[in-house]
Amino acid sequence: MEPFRRLSALACPLPLASVDTDQLIPARFMKTPRAEGYGRFLLYDLRYGSDGRPSGALPLDEPARAGAQILVARRNFGAGSSREAAVYALVDYGIRCVIAPSFGDIFAANAANNGLLPAVVSEEDAERLLFALEAGLEELVVDLEAERIEGAGEPIAIMIDPVMRTKLLNGWDDLDMTLSRADEIAAFAEADATRRPWARPDA
């Protein structure tokens, strides 16, 4: 996974609360193998009419925002289902950081597993960023090492779980780390079988 340290990029406002995972990627697209790319499904029903034409409803499709790698949204971003496809849609579209006052827990975990930074800021700071972007600001700098956002006046503090931060800074994949502990896990399972003889499925 690509480490996330400091990102200086085009940013796009998404002035909505509770952008849930069903909106990030509608369920009907999830049959697609990942290899085909999920970027085109991002926020599909908000961006395209029922005739499949762009509705122009979101700033994401304004020419000036083309190539944006940072999204700024309101609270409860990524609420809802555990579908990692929501993160694939963002990542494949080119988004590397979402800034919002709060995130769905599972979404945030999925994001960190794919190198996408879920940057938590205060509601006030989110409103300030949205306002600045809507007033014409184009670029933001997200500095994960320094835990702050620059480019919209006073630097804005990012709140992030330290474990998630380390993982993103290093581009770590949990699985490789855990596989090296196979013996420890096996020993635990053996001891546990005596402690909780009822825990194995009995049929």
């Binding site: 002035p15 909106q23 029903d45 555990s82 579908r83 975990a109 546990d192 825990a199």
Partner: protein, 478 residues
Amino acid sequence: MPDPSPSNPHGAPRTLFEKVWDQHVVTTRDDGPSLLYIDRHLVHEGSHHAFAKLREKGLPVSRPDLTFGVADHYVPTRGRGGAIADEGIARMVGQLADNTATHGIRLFGLDDPRQGIVHVVGPEQGLTLPGLTMVCGDSHTSTHGAFGAFAFGIGASDVAHVLATQTLWQKKPRRMRICFEGKLMPGVGAKDMALAWIARLGADGARGHAIEYAGSAVRALSMEGRLTLCNLSIEGGGRLGMIAPDATTIGYLEGRPFAPKGETFARAAEDWLALASDADAAFDREFVIAANEIAPVVTWGTSPEDALPITGETPDPDRIADPGRAAHAREALAYMGLEPGRKLTEIAVDRVFIGSCTNSRIEDLRAAAAILAGRKARVPGLVSPGSSLVKRQAEEEGLDRIFVEAGLEWVASGCSMCVGMNGDIVASGERCASTTNRNFKGRQGPGARTHLMSPAMVAAAAIEGRLADARPLLEGRI
């Protein structure tokens, strides 16, 4: 009494959640997260990304004996037994069968008499037990917490991690307790309790927390009701929801196919009853809700927190001070095709849906049938039981005839119109009274408008052709 066991050397008072957590920690890293041992892993059609990742890395499934497959998200609810017409859907169902067969995982597949929605099948089969850690690539895995299991939803990367290692790195969530004290009014149930607390705390109100539901109204709930309550934990942002095992829990589990038997069961029951939070255990946040003040609840907007008693009216965004919340209300009303200050009971519906892992167990079907018996629905609707076994039981009880005579369609079991992946969708612009758990934009189909409520309230909406209070229709029937 605190338990001075090796996993708890200091014998400090602990909550239910902490007791289960402590029993599963393989190791804890210096920077905080613990590696948790996972007792049960449930996979469904959507798990194909995770199996693909295993293939890519050339890894086997570590514990196929603790992994179970269920076909539910994409299964057709009509014409079962024949071939699946839609190619994409057939591929999804086939892929699950292939992946589970390749790795030696037991599958409750399309034609298995025990097939059903993963969160209905787990408890029904006795795969769900108190004190277990359970995961599934589905956010409503919180449902299984009704038994006092530590159960939560995970994404595809984590599904692959559990398949390969039977463990998961987790940060300990904070502890929250929601107590419902007193008695529920007739016609009010677990769905109303859940929507009531989410309306109060918000759709992200329990973010980062393990919720424990407690209080006399929770203890009075059947297992079915407890499953509904825990199911909706995620809709309030909670990582998971749990209820302490008691006689109701143990009574439900005895004799279930995969549950322990004989002396092992007796030993297990003893361990399970000891899981309850110690009397002086501390919680990071606590709330108390008076059960008798809860009225039947319906949602009006596009987030589960947009919920109100059926006696209420839609909000006026101009009177909401917070700009973000006012914007959300304005947008939600526009999407739902509603104006501010509209009485909820005046909102006409186009169809109804009874089903999903929230409300499709036998008690849910009975509650809906109690209202529908001898009456006619004014709008069309679909009833999809939570499992093929629930379907059979409902048919034995004659509930299917009540639904059909009322004018509703009785179909096979699956996620169906909860998420529309199998093609059961609500048409764009149509309004659906639904027993499901998500009223997100487009959840039941592009442009679909969803109102969440209990099975009794959906039945009432079917009869009245609009959102309606179920209580008058229940008079003389319960």
